[in-house]
């Protein structure tokens, strides 16, 4: 079976396609099919969720083709209407394609990455019965919007006709068409031609720091990476492609603020103070849309929490939220196009590129010392505050602890590359578990507050509002109970985090 593998070759510049087809026709009995023009479009999410799982998604000839990256073989083929520039999992045709991709895509949208317009000529190699023994597919593909042209020839074997395949292979070898390319060649070349690279974006923060760097150099590297993240997400926010552009943008803002606060003596005091304010402003202008995004994403969950007779009432609630979001998104776009925003971003960008000679207390200290100090301090604080929380402590204490946890998490991620990988993974995993508990607790609080606010704003009287109020009442009860359960789990979760073993690991790494 090995021999039946497809074989795709790149045509060298010097070879003319028509001359090659003519030569093929002189050597074998062939049937040349008329040239066929078609467009192939490749899709993935902004953060390459399909690529990362070894998939490629192509739309051509009114069909979706989900392919295995390595072999180019189809996993699912599904008929569909016109391909769009952006679509969510729920817009894919019902069936295996959707059920396979929905959990992978989650809330992210599929985006059109690149389109290739191709002219294909298929030549069938025939035997004495005029039976096809090999398909030879010549393809000339133009990457839309660029000058890049890809020319390939693909040999598609027919089972049981190995001898013919060997003869055709030998023919191309003789013609100097020898460079074999992988099945994903046109995808990769196409994506590259429009300025992207598979896997070039991930929402995970990762930066490699050299332990010999000064604190200033390291801080600049970190801020630089965070600013890049903000900038690459800008377009997706402005075009409102999916909720995660804004989310990643805001996480980068929070990380920057956290960095400025924790590495406070690394950059000059006035810069640190100004930027803290500026980034707080960025946090404020992006907040409302994100909050509404989060609420809107609850729709499915809220319906699941309610008995059927109460679900109806939620319709107008979510319609309201969607309308609010529409207005807030407009404001956000205006803010991101304003001179103030431009000024903040270009100002910060220029500062990070500049070589500011102003001295600062921690600027020249080795980054490894700074990292240890910050992480250790953050950890001690989290431990102390967490241990002080008992069953009767007010909710505010847990909320504050969540913020502490976040600060520790950010500093661990900033300096991750300076410490042994496996131990860092363990430390972060332990912290994550605690953060999940605190995060759930907080989310449930925020939701109850939001729903209560909404309930108070409702005017009684209409039947619609009555149903809505009933639904919200039902939700509040449900969320309240769940929050209670989450709170009950806190003790155990924190005990695990503050176990002797984990504390020892922190001490060993950061003391």
């Amino acid at each position: 079976m090995q021999e039946l593998q497809q074989d795709t070759r790149c045509l060298p510049e010097s070879v003319e396609m028509q001359a090659l087809i003519d030569a093929l026709a002189d050597t074998f009995a062939v049937e040349i099919e008329g040239a066929r023009e078609h467009v192939t479009t490749w899709y993935d999410t902004f953060d390459w969720r399909l690529y990362n799982r070894g998939y490629l998604l192509r739309y051509s000839d009114r069909h979706w083709h989900l392919l295995e990256y390595r072999t180019g073989e189809a996993v699912v083929v599904a008929r569909a209407g016109a391909g769009k520039k952006r679509l969510f999992a729920r817009e894919l045709p019902r069936g295996r394609l959707r059920s396979l991709l929905a959990p992978v895509l989650d809330v992210r949208a599929l985006l059109l990455l690149v389109s290739l317009g191709s002219v294909d000529t298929r030549v069938r190699i025939l035997n004495r019965d005029q039976k096809t023994t090999v398909f030879v597919e010549f393809s000339r593909q133009q990457v839309r919007g660029t000058d890049t042209v890809l020319r390939t020839v693909r040999l598609v074997p027919v089972r049981g006709y190995d001898k013919a395949l060997r003869a055709v292979r030998a023919f191309f070898d003789d013609q100097g068409v020898v460079e074999q390319v992988p099945p994903f060649h046109t995808f990769e070349q196409g994506v590259q031609a429009v300025g992207r690279r598979p896997g070039d974006y991930s929402s995970r923060f990762a930066v490699r720091l050299d332990p010999d760097l000064t604190s200033r150099q390291a801080a600049i590297t970190i801020y630089r990476r965070l600013l890049d993240t903000m900038q690459v997400n800008e377009e997706g926010i402005l075009r409102d492609l999916d909720s995660e552009f804004l989310h990643d943008f805001r996480v980068a803002i929070r990380r920057t603020r956290s960095g400025l606060a924790q590495m406070k003596k690394v950059l000059p005091a006035d810069i640190t103070a100004t930027m803290k304010e500026e980034f707080a402003y960025l946090g404020r202008i992006t907040g409302p849309v994100r909050d509404l995004d989060v609420y809107l994403l609850y729709e499915h969950d809220y319906r699941a929490r309610l008995p059927e007779q109460l679900q109806e009432g939620l319709g107008s609630f979510f319609a309201d939220l969607a309308e609010q979001r529409r207005l807030e998104q407009k404001k956000l776009v205006r803010a991101l196009r304003s001179p103030r925003y431009r000024q903040i971003v270009t100002g910060w960008d220029e500062y990070l590129r500049s070589d500011d000679p102003t001295p600062s207390a921690d600027a020249d200290k080795p980054v490894i010392d700074l990292a240890r100090r910050i992480i250790h301090r953050r950890f001690r604080r989290l431990l102390k505050d967490g241990l002080a929380i008992g069953a009767d402590s007010p909710d505010e204490d847990l909320h504050r602890l969540r913020i502490q946890g976040k600060k520790l998490r950010y500093s661990l991620e900033f300096f991750r590359s300076l410490f042994p990988e496996q131990e860092m993974d363990t430390v972060i995993r332990q912290l994550k578990r605690l953060q999940n508990n605190l995060g759930d607790f907080n989310d449930l609080s925020v939701q109850q507050e939001m729903l209560t606010r909404y309930l108070h704003g409702l005017r009684p009287g209409s039947r619609k509002n009555m149903e809505l109020a009933a639904a919200i009442g039902g939700l509040l009860t449900n969320l309240f109970h769940e929050q209670h359960r989450v709170r009950e789990r806190f003790g155990k979760t924190f005990a695990r985090f503050s176990s002797r073993k984990n504390v020892a690991l922190f001490k060993k790494l950061f003391h």
Binding site: V77, D129, Q130, K131, V156, V158
Partner: protein, 248 residues
Amino acid sequence: MSVIAVYNIKGGVGKTATSVNLSYLSACQGNKTLLCDMDSQGSATYYFRIRPARKFNTRKLLKGGKHIDRNIRGTDYPGLDLLPADFSYRNIDIALDDLKKSKRRISRILKPLREEYDHIFLDCPPNVTLLSENIFHAADRILVPLIPTTLSHLALQQLLEFLDEIGQERAKVLVFFSMVEKRKKMHGEMMRLLQDEPGVLPCAIPFLADVEKMGIYRQPVAAMLPGSAAAESYRRLWDAICGELEKS
């Protein structure tokens, strides 16, 4: 995954044309499809311009495994393979009779192929023989092309009774009308009489010259003349069969 045997006790009812076109339509939908030509005349093999390897024969077929693997041929259509027939199949009953578990042999041979293919079609020879009994065991569905005449109806009854006799469910059987001629009064009457019987699909393949001509151009009519009435009627038949397959 399903094995569909195209069968009728009578010959010349359009079995091969049905197997060839349905297997082609199945492959067009992206299903990996295998057509096994079980008829020693090798008409399906001929339609796809395939010649069996010189060394392939009944003995190899019944051995199965790599002996079959080696002899499967790709057709001119992506996703559609064919296991050619050999003239030696005319004596297949004698060979089967000599084997242990002679009624399950074809089932056993098809087992590994079930893994590889989404649909397997068996183009069967007419007559009730040990081979047919094997095929009834192996098939998930027995598709019967029926020319709407009294004698054909009688043949169908014989088939159903035979299935009872060998302990196979009648529910496996799907019937459709084949080679239907509008101008013949009896065809219309027979169809009306049978249309509500269990397992009878609401599909008819008309008697059309385009189907007959398959022997000349040696391609499925659905590939050669995709816009023809013949192609359309096979597509409708395949849709109806898919509907039945989904039910089970």
